[in-house]
Amino acid sequence: MSITDWFRAREDKRYTPVNGAGPKADVPEGVWTTCDSCKRIIYEGELAASMRVCPYCGHHFPVPAHERIAQLVDEGSLEEFGAGITSSDPLEFVAAKSYVQSVSSAKEKSGLEEAVVTGRATIGGHPVIVAVMDFSFVGASMGSAVGEKITRAFEIAVSERRGIVFAIASGGARMQEGMLSLMQMAKTAAAAKRYRAEGLPYIAVLTNPTTGGVTASFATLADIIFAEPGALVGFAGPRLVEQATRQKLPKDFQSAEFLLDHGLVDDVVARGGLRERVSLVLDYLMRPGGAA
């Protein structure tokens, strides 16, 4: 259905949808999106062209992993590794939905094999390892597979003398793999520590949302931490904090801007300027030829 057709069809119904659930039923899937923040209706093509940032209010929408990579790295430079690493079900975790079901529906929905895509690439000509997490895959939670891919990313970066640029999102450690997930925090932190000793730069971009065990491990061990505008970043999620403290949360609690105010991130950088900013930092922290 073309846009003009859509408008005509809508007019035929002789009503004007206002805010809220009204237009949903009439909007063809994937053509229009309602901004979560300003509630205006945005044409999908326009959203894709604007890096999934609302052209009206600047709200940053989630970005699928491969689209994020295209936004961040030099064109065509990605060489993926670890793509064959996927989750198994070591706890045989069965609740309302089995873990195996959750993973297979995530694979179908996202077209990914795991919650993180890792690879070699260049940014502004600098050789780097990138890892990009996709929240649509089991909340980008970290189980054994994600932990392994992140660990390898650090290890390969050490052996090939590459910088690291991670675009992070996560609901935390993956509950369905129990203690194996929790220990991925220690494992990735240990790998990040070894990398740190090499004099190579690690830049983390925290996107909406980054919480729990990922925030409390490799994500915040970066040399430079940028956050996207409005991104929710924290250890405990806001609902848990509210429940535990029975206090009203401050305005913008755990937002990127809140973190900046409290000295926890280097800067809040809008998506449109991210590649340039990351590239500039790599210019400062990496010497030409890849040797730091």
Partner: protein, 316 residues
Amino acid sequence: MEFERPLFELEDKLDQLKRMDVAVNPEIAAEVEDLEQQLEQLRKETYEQIGPWERVQISRHPERPKTQDYVATLFTDVVELHGDRLFGDDEAILAALATMLGRRVVVLGHRKGKTTKENVARNFGSPHPEGYRKAMRAMRLAERFGLPVVAFLDTAGAYPGIEAEQRGQAWAIAESLSLLADLPVPVVVVGIGEGGSGGALAIGFGDRLIMLENAYYSVISPEMCAMILHKEASRAAEAAGCLRLTAADLIDFGIADEIVGEPLEGAHVDPEPVIAAVGERIRAALDALGEVDPQTLTQKRYERLRAIGVFEEGAG
């Protein structure tokens, strides 16, 4: 504890009977005998069928031996270190210089209280970032002066509070993991009670993990897991089973090394032998690790972490 209630009710009944006058009611003697048999049977059943959720409850028992009990019994000449030199002193974490049979160590531990007053001061053993930063300060001391680290785990988790978030709870935990990862001195960890997620892990891995039989270590509390899965915390017992959080599970996963047994009803009914047994295991671990040079030690620690995880790997 909830699962012990039928047992305690029967004990009460027996007590009441015993207090009655046998001369007036001669049939009581027979009934007492009968009840005593029943009680014995029930006691066996209650503790023999103990599951993960019962163990979680035992691990949280208010009278269970706490970090301070282990420190007071197993160490001498204790010098407590206060504060993170940045913000304040978090009583939910203990950091100290201490001596164990002539061996000088740095002791760390989550510190729960036994009374309400103590628990309020110590935030029920749930640390703020300054607690972890104090622990890190003590770890750096351990590194500089070549002292092994002994850490006792007993926390429901890092505190999910507004100020904790403002001061970078996640940042503090991550830095602590990073510091512990290659600290060039032996690190012996003992799970004595609750091992609540990242808040436990921040001081909770090293070269040896010793678990008490009824201690647990989990990625998430059974209650929160039940909330996420079923929207009701009351299904925590079920969630506790799903999470594989017991000491025995940790051995299966290759995360823990050894288990220290407890009395049938839990360590709180007879703490002394349990504390003594923990002391023995710590000493043995420190003896073995003391022989290893620092470089090998941190390399082995890395390999140990590196091997944790179960996943599939196909072509890709």
